[in-house]
Structures are given as structure tokens and as C-alpha cells.
């Protein structure tokens, strides 16, 4: 299989765009990524488009209506919070397999605000409040409490994740929320689902991100290797059986399996990483993924956040973009936006939030819902 490179990548500023369509937002990101590569839609041999909430509405084709109906194959993907990363991975596989040399990948979502999740069933029964809870903050709260029961993790430690990521966001003009949130403010903001307060929940925003993937030979021929980012590993897993699976989807083992495969595939370990963008849909989630991704031994995540090891300037900076907590979490766009963040650091173009001398970075997304399952994608990128 050939090596594959990101030769163009960008995202729109995440925010609320009620007057625009999903296709318009996706098209804007697509054009930004094409401009970043110095290429045009006529150079693209296929489009892979990730979108969740309009998954049956041909979002990829609608994007081409905005930027050029060239007749190329379009693959539309939907895979919970791994939707955008799944689209990226499908495009990457096609390039690595030699099927295409240049593909466009877009992740886009228009969210509206409020809690995610279905509130009633076809028979009219409302499970919420009767059969526990299926809201996302509740589910990730239960996962945080599971960590607390094992290791004594505290409310304050979970809250520090939000303090850190919101601090990072002040250096990212493309983040939805860009302000400092002191620990006290995080802990005293509205309790949504213990121990996740409002400032510990990701923000539902509209957003889009896009990338151009090229084979090594074409990237070289077009003179694009200078700013290119090599994809060292691209792995996907679905949730395996766990004893709690019937009650709560697995986000731990699915991430561990995916990370292990990615490290093996890249011939690298967590100690080789310079930065990580992981799936901080809630503050509780970030801490468990320190351990799931091998950034620290099991049980050490609380100490790690307390010691500032994952802050910009620390041992292994995590979510220097501001993460989903401040950047926002447009489901289908998230898995490409985190690649944009890591690629920007590897290119040395991240401005005031630049991780110094960054050479290798990891991106992680994981999503799922009760009674359905989970999906995880991990990518490892390296400066070309």
C-alpha cells in the first residue's frame, strides 16, 4: 500500500449559523481545504463526506452542487461522533489502496442547541427518568463516576479539565467559546449531571472541516510534500462485548483497542507523541481517555491533570485547540477538525498555542449511545 498524506486541511470557525445550510457550511470548508492545498475540485477523484443528522439527505452530493458537479464518486458516512473521522479514514483507505491519488474529505454538522438524544419511542413511552437517563451528559457522568469508584477521582479533578481546555481556547480564534473559566466558576456553574456541570459539557455548534488526501507520488509530483502531513496510522473499532454493554455503551475498551492498533500500526508508543486531540465531549471523558490512550498508567489521570501535564507547555499537551468543551462539537465535523488542529501544529502554524517542535500527534474520537453501541477512530500524524 502507498503512503498517504494530508496536503490540504482547514476548518471554518465553529459557531451558530442558523441562516446557512449544511451544504453551504461543508462547501466553505471544502474550498478552504482545496485552497490550502492549492488545488481545485476538478483535481479531486472522490469525495468522502461525514454528516450525522442529515445522513439520509446526500450531503456530499449537495456540497458538490455548491462547488462543482464533477461527477466523482461520493461516499456519505454516518458513525456517531466518529462520523467525520470515518469519512477521512475511508478516503485514506482509497488512496492507500491505489484506487485514487487525490480525494476530498469533508465533515459537517448543523446542530441546533440543547440536549442530544431521543426523548420518546414510537409507542410513545418516554424512557428518560424512568429507565435512568440516556442524555449524553448523564452517560458520560456515569463513566466518570465509574472512574471515581475505581481510583477516587474527584469532582475538582474533572472540573480542572474544563479550566485547562477553556484556557487553551483563548488562543484559538476558530473556537466557539474563547474565555477563561476559573475552577470555582466551573464547579459552581449549573449542575447538568453529577459531576458534569454546564462548563464541563461540550457545546452543540455548527461547523465544518475538510481535508485533501494525496498519495505520496502525487504529492511529490505536485510539489506538495513541503507542508504535507503523513498519516502514520488510521484505525477504527466498534464497541466489543463488555458486561455492562446492555446498560451503558463501552467507551473505554473500544478506545484501548483502537489506540493499541494505531500504536502498533505506526510502530510508535504514547511516549513518542508531542500532542493529542482527544474526545472531550465531557470533562469526565477526557480523564478516562488519558488512560485509555496510554498517556498515563491506569489510575493516574487525576494526578496528571492536577500536575498540569496535559496543559500547553506540559509533558503531553491535550486539546490545545480548546477541545470540544470550548471549540464546540459539531458531530460530523469533529473528527476532521481534530486532524486540522494536529496538522497545524506539525506545520508549525498554530500561533500562540503552538506546541513547540511538534513532530507527531494523535487524534481520537469515540461516540455511541445506550442500547446501540460505540465507534472509535484514532489517527497518528507525523510531520512529513
Amino acid at each position: 500500500m502507498t503512503e498517504a498524506y494530508i496536503v490540504g486541511i482547514d476548518m471554518i470557525a465553529f459557531g451558530r449559523y442558523p441562516g446557512r445550510t449544511v451544504a453551504e457550511l461543508g462547501a466553505e470548508a471544502a474550498l478552504l481545504a482545496l485552497d490550502d492545498a492549492g488545488l481545485g475540485i476538478r483535481d479531486m477523484q472522490a469525495l468522502y463526506c461525514g454528516n450525522l443528522l442529515e445522513a439520509h439527505l446526500m450531503v456530499g452530493q449537495r456540497i458538490l452542487r455548491e462547488i462543482g458537479l464533477t461527477g466523482i464518486p461520493v461516499v456519505n458516512t454516518a458513525n456517531a461522533c466518529a462520523t467525520g473521522a470515518t469519512a477521512f479514514r475511508e478516503g485514506l483507505i482509497a488512496v492507500k489502496a491505489g484506487l485514487h491519488d487525490l480525494v476530498l474529505v469533508v465533515g459537517v454538522e448543523q446542530m441546533g442547541s440543547g440536549l442530544l438524544g431521543a426523548s420518546s419511542r414510537p409507542d410513545g413511552f418516554v424512557e428518560e427518568g424512568v429507565l435512568g437517563s440516556s442524555t449524553m451528559p448523564a452517560m458520560f457522568a456515569q463513566i466518570g463516576v465509574e472512574h471515581a469508584r475505581k481510583y477516587g477521582t474527584t469532582f475538582e479533578q474533572f472540573a480542572r479539565v474544563a479550566v485547562k481546555n477553556h484556557h487553551h481556547s483563548t488562543m484559538n480564534t476558530k473556537a466557539m467559546s474563547r474565555r477563561e473559566t476559573p475552577l470555582r466558576e466551573v464547579m459552581e456553574s449549573e449542575m447538568i449531571s453529577w459531576p458534569n456541570t454546564k462548563l464541563m459539557c461540550s457545546i452543540n455548534v455548527d461547523g465544518a472541516a475538510a481535508a485533501v488526501i494525496a498519495s505520496r507520488s502525487v504529492a511529490k509530483r505536485l510539489g506538495l510534500l513541503g507542508r504535507a502531513v503523513r498519516v502514520r496510522a488510521s484505525e477504527m473499532t466498534s464497541g466489543p462485548y463488555t458486561p455492562q454493554e446492555f446498560a451503558i455503551p463501552d467507551f473505554n475498551q473500544v478506545t484501548r483497542n483502537c489506540a493499541r492498533a494505531a500504536y502498533e500500526g505506526a510502530g510508535l508508543g504514547p511516549e513518542d507523541l508531542d500532542l493529542v486531540e482527544l474526545h472531550d465531549c465531557f470533562a469526565t471523558a477526557e480523564l478516562i481517555h488519558y488512560e485509555n490512550l496510554g498517556l498515563c498508567p491506569d489510575g493516574d489521570a487525576g494526578r496528571m491533570i492536577d500536575a498540569g501535564e496535559t496543559a500547553l507547555g506540559g509533558r503531553i499537551p491535550v486539546n490545545v485547540s480548546g477541545g470540544l468543551l470550548s471549540k464546540g462539537h459539531p458531530l460530523g465535523a469533529t473528527g476532521i477538525a481534530n486532524l486540522y488542529e494536529v496538522a497545524t501544529h506539525l506545520r508549525g502554524a498554530a500561533g500562540t498555542r503552538q506546541v513547540e517542535a511538534a513532530r507527531i500527534g494523535l487524534t481520537h474520537v469515540v461516540g455511541g449511545s445506550p442500547g446501540r453501541g460505540s465507534a472509535c477512530v484514532v489517527h497518528i500524524l507525523e510531520k512529513a
Binding site: F125, S133, M191, Y241, I248
Partner: protein, 146 residues
């Protein structure tokens, strides 16, 4: 041909809650004789090992222990809060999510592994034909402390 539902009779809120002819309720599950796991609900194939035979229908145990939880303060419109959303490991195998009632919705008052039991109550919601939905809930079961 299936019998017509009796007007006003309770209907189960989940498929693995069974209401007997005497109106008593219980939860059903499946045990895989191959890999030994217990899964709520009726199954023809084991979700853990993929076995297609040796799946034994069982009644789930009504005693269990609080594995994890959250206190939900913000939920969907119309849902009364706060409430305790619990994950309970049943003593005889199987894990369920459900609402823990009969406790203060205070995270500091909910010890890990506290004994709980399954009870069946009218959920307060009605099906289109007016039949009440019967649901399962968890309540503290201090008598079962061992």
C-alpha cells in the same frame, strides 16, 4: 392468534419485562452456556461469543448492587429532575440501567456497591389505548447487606 390485550391492563415498558397471567412481573434474560454471560432479554445468538445454540432463557435476579450512577439535574423537557440514573449489576449476572428511587438525589449519599432490588411500578405513562406502562425501578435494599 395472539389474544387481544385487555383494556386497561398494564403493558411492559421494556421487552424484557414480562407480566404473567396473574399480573405479577419479572425480568427475563438469556444465559449463554458456551461463554457463561448473562444478557437481559431474549436472544437467539450470544452477543458476547456469537454462539447460536446453548442459549438458555432465565429469570433475572432482582437483587443487585449499585455499580455507577449520576444525579441528573437537566434532562429533556417534561422530565422531572433531579433523579438518580443508576447502573446496577444484578447478583445473578446482567447489568441494567434504571432509576434509583427511595434515596436522596445526593451523590455523596450513594455508596458504591450499595445493595438494591428491582421493583415494578406504574410509570405514570399510558399507551395509546390507555393501558398504563409498567416499568422496573431500583430501590435500596439494606436488608440484603452481606
Amino acid at each position: 392468534m395472539a389474544a387481544e390485550p385487555i383494556q386497561g391492563a398494564e403493558v411492559p415498558a421494556v421487552p424484557f419485562l414480562v407480566i404473567g397471567a396473574d399480573a405479577s412481573a419479572h425480568l427475563v434474560g438469556t444465559r449463554c452456556q458456551g461463554c457463561g454471560v448473562t444478557i437481559p432479554g431474549k436472544r437467539c445468538v450470544c452477543m458476547a461469543c456469537g454462539a447460536r445454540s446453548g442459549l438458555e432463557p432465565i429469570r433475572l435476579t432482582e437483587q443487585g448492587r449499585l455499580y455507577s450512577f449520576t444525579v441528573v439535574h437537566r434532562s429533556f423537557p417534561g422530565v422531572k429532575t433531579p433523579f438518580v440514573a443508576a447502573i446496577v449489576n444484578l447478583d445473578g449476572g446482567g447489568t441494567l440501567k434504571g432509576t434509583l428511587v427511595g434515596v436522596a438525589p445526593d451523590p455523596h449519599a450513594l455508596p458504591y456497591d450499595m445493595p438494591v432490588k428491582v421493583v415494578y411500578r406504574d410509570s405514570g405513562q399510558k399507551a395509546a389505548d390507555g393501558s398504563p406502562f409498567l416499568a422496573y425501578y431500583f430501590v435500596p435494599s439494606p436488608g440484603d447487606q452481606t
